[in-house]
């Protein structure tokens, strides 16, 4: 009996050794993108802007290169952080696609996202066609065309936005030549969220084009006369319309993350 007692004790005490967890879990889930809920598929999307324009978008296609969920939300006033910070991501979608942002229909990304079942507090939309830190990228990030009117004036406009060296910001301080990396221009962050990814459910990213054009002053486009002429928004950081549109494209308020 004395021989068996320690054996039995050891077995009993260790029967639980093959159970338990290291915490959290790995998850996969689908990701969808869509335009505003009040848009109608196949129809132009019309809205009024804060700049006093009535805008009708006939086409707006956004290329989303990736979607990331970040476990931490930057504290206001904190030191600037690099584009990516390993160890803080809860989920990622690394395959991109073009999204018709004039359609409310859910458009599924070709591959699911993967991550861990950890609470995410910030969303990121990566507006890139190539690697996020590549110096050049000719992928059209936003293609748009439509018309704007204010009082009796009207304009037709179109444009393509890319994010490459045309968006490079020259550093103002020679001591910090890497302070404005191009990748920062390609990542829209931090989009406020509070969700925990699960295997059951899906992430929906809605882009709102109203935000992009809300402060654009079409009257400042080169050649603008208000006679219905077609104007091209330049693909560079020059002039109020192009600069404002690009900055608005990267505004966190233009994107909404919903777990459903």
């Amino acid at each position: 009996m004395r021989r068996l007692a320690p054996v039995a004790l050891a077995l009993i005490a260790t029967t639980s050794s093959c159970v338990g967890s290291t915490g959290s879990e790995v998850v996969d889930f689908p990701v969808f993108a869509a335009g505003p809920v009040d848009s109608v598929a196949g129809s132009p999307y019309e809205f009024d802007t804060s700049a006093g324009y009535h805008v009708r978008l006939d086409r707006a296609v956004l290329h989303i290169g990736g979607v990331y969920l970040n476990r931490s939300r930057p504290v206001q006033g904190a030191q600037d952080t690099p584009c990516v910070l390993p160890g803080v991501y809860a989920a990622e979608l690394t395959s991109g696609m073009d999204v018709d942002v004039l359609s409310p229909a859910l458009q599924r990304f070709p591959a699911p996202a993967n991550g861990t079942a950890d609470r995410a507090l910030a969303g990121e939309v990566w507006l890139t066609g190539g690697r996020v830190d590549a110096t050049e990228d000719s992928t059209p990030i936003l293609q748009f065309e439509g018309a704007a009117s204010r009082e009796s004036l009207s304009w037709r406009f179109e444009g393509v936005i890319t994010i490459g060296t045309n968006r490079q910001i020259t550093p103002s301080d020679p001591a910090t030549p890497g302070a404005n990396p191009l990748c920062k221009s390609r990542i829209v962050t931090p989009i406020p969220i509070d969700l925990t990814p699960r295997d059951s459910g899906a992430l929906v990213v809605r882009a709102d084009p109203r935000v992009w054009f809300d402060l654009v002053d079409f009257d400042q486009l080169e050649g603008a006369q208000g006679q219905g002429e077609l104007l091209v928004v330049p693909d560079e950081l020059e002039g109020q319309p192009a600069t404002t549109l690009f900055q608005s494209l990267r505004s966190v308020s233009a994107y909404d993350f919903v777990w459903q």
Partner: protein
Amino acid sequence: MPLTPPRPLSRLAALLLAAALGIPAVALAQGEESLSAPVVLSRVDAHYPEGPPPARDVLSVLLVTVGVDGSVEEVATAESGGKEYDRAAREAVIQWRFRPAQRDGQPVRARIRIPFTFPAGGVGTAPGAASSATVSASSSAAAPSSGSASASVLVPASASSAPIPAPSGSSSSGGMQSATAGQAAAAAKALQPDPAVRAAETQAPQQVVIVGRSRPPSRGASDFQIELGKLREVPRKNAAEMLQLAPGILLTNEGGEGHAHQVFLRGFDAREGQDIEFTVGGVPINEAGNLHGNGHADTHFIIPEVVHSLRVVEGPFDPRQGNFAVAGSADYELGLDRRGTTVKYTRGSYGTDRILLLWGPRSQGRGTFGAAELFDTAGFGQNRDARRGSAMGQYEGKLGDKGAWRLTGQGYSASYHSAGVLREDAYRRGLVGFYDTHDFRQGGDASRFSIAGDLEQTVDDMRIRQQVYVIRNAMRMRKNYTGFLLDVQEPLQNPHAQRGDGIDLQVDSWTLGARGSSRSRTVIGGLPQELEVGYSARGDYGSGTQLRVQSSNAVPYGRDTDVEYSLGDIGLYGDLNVRPLSWLTFRGGLRGDLFTYNVLDRCAQDSVRQPSRTDPPGDASCLDQQDFGRYRDPTQRASTSQAALLPRASVIVGPFHGMSLSSSWGEGVRSIDPVYISQDLGTPFARVRAWESGVTFGGGLGNTHLVSRAVFFRTHVERDLVFSETAGRNTLADGTTRTGGLLSGRWSGSWFDQNANVTMVRSTFDDTNLLVPYVPDLVVRYDGSVYHDLPWRPAGRAVRATVGTGVTWVGHRPLPYGQRSDALFTVDLSGSLAWRNYEVGVAATNLLNRRYRLGEFNYASDFQTEAQPTLVPVRHFTAGPPRMLFLTLGVNFGGSE
């Protein structure tokens, strides 16, 4: 029985043939006679029973019947030295192998008388062992040939009063080879071989004294003294794999053939040795201060064939255990049983070649040997080629009548490439093959050169021991755990894309050290009591750098670490071995360690918030400016120290009919990585507290021997270390606790040797009660060997066949983020035939050719397998080797058959 002298020509022919084949002259000499006695071919030393050595010499005489196959068929006690000593002698002798007695060239059964003397105090010569044969053999065997854990034993030179040809294959062969054929014949005549098997116990036996090394007293059920014996036949590619004979050990290796093994033991992820104190013959293997992992222990320099035994203590229960003995300790004892010169060549799968040379003079004990190997392989997949050379030599000599000295030298150098880890998703999508690599620049180099000398002597009632050693280590390791993840754009840096996370780590170190001890003995109440006091002192002087290199061209672009260190570790201990009753033993004492650190950080400043506008640091890693461009030296020195007192105790009850109960408690310590040192802050070493209780059974079952154990254990570590793939080295974590149990058993007989163990453990973090990742909670291991002479006898000599099997089963290991790894199941098989001095063997590792993941990990990496950076943790793995086949040819010159 008439004796027919051989004709001169046939004798000459036989001599020439024998010379060509390397047959010992003794064997030929025996051919002159029609009658010969059994000759010891291989011998296993007897060990002292549990408890203190006897106050007086103990003599136990056995009558042993040797069968026609040379095995021990029957053992009887002719003269008892006490039950425990008789049993110890029986347990040893049943493992002996003989060349059987012969009549007219045909083997016959014979009974011989074998005396075992257990000298008082553990070391000494036996009274009356003074014949010429004894003296001759004694001088040769006086070297601590037992090299094993045995303390001191007497083995017979012969079975009769006449000197009989010696056990040339054994360590006690000595001058017995000079015995004449006539003497052998006389001895044989005295044996009265079969059919009238008759005792020769009336003959006064010759005795040979072997002065051996003392073995530390056992600490109970978790103190594993492992004689390799015939389990050596189980396929093992290196000395590290011998550890699997102890329960609860899993070995993985994500770094390649020249990279140290990652060891898991009883719920510890000991990485490459950080939690296990490794020694070889008492000389430390752990590298204090190694940048890759403090305590890094690479055992590749040990040639497996010269490992005689292992002592594995699973827990910090022995006061002799020092730094790094958190999960336990493992000591390799070197020795070469096969005497003469052995040459082996192995050809294996994937362009694997190995040449091995072994030599050990027959006149010397097993502790005197030389060994050298060259190994080369193309590897079983991409970027897995490796080559290494290793040489080891050891000489043991006698120091007076009651002492021995030993000198050991060793050199090792290796170069290898490594496949590293693969992303599971990349493999599943077909982007990489199972045995491919993400980064061809991974690999490394390693070298180790050491010399050590020690002596042990009994003076009066005191046994003293002194050892000194010098070790030179160098290691370069090129790894890439994370791909293109960590090289983020910093404001101070010039704009760049991810350049790659390759690590180029270099460590160079010298270690100087000494150990010494004194064991005193007295008798109280008729029972011997012991006190051992001792010290260990080592200094480690080295430097370490870790560079980040570009994946495209291997050019360094950053410097993570650059340190130079001088570390001291002075330990002292006292160990009592108290036996108030014959069945009750208390062992234990106190150990104290002082750790001192003097670290020069050559890269003390790596960032500045307000850089100089006129002289910006740019991409420099180690800066010489503070805010606003104020100068500072990029180096900074820090020194600190701290002492630890570590109590350890064991109580052993028994043995009762071979069964003992034991319970142990102890504290251990692991020093910290030099990079964590701060000026005048105490050395933040990790302390472990462990206890265990167990039951051990050891004894004979007929002519077989069984040792079995059951142990329950619990261990707590204050500040554990967890490997960080991003840092490329171990980082501090919170406290952890391990609870578990194990069962193990080893059963051996004259034709088999079986060892099996199963360990279950639950390892959790204290603050969250979550499982510690990567640590296996179920490990099952089986090693078995079966050996016997085949029924046919070419040229009148037996052909011995041996089959060895190793089976490993590891349950689903916990991984980060609630994941579990695949279970791991492998079968290794070997077979060999030995005839005369020749041997041919085949071996298969991973016989079932299972495609398994040896290591699995969950962490974030970006090997650019996706369109965008992969930043969340995913599964990675290192591939276990596929089925590999090896053919080995061996020949021995000058040794026994």
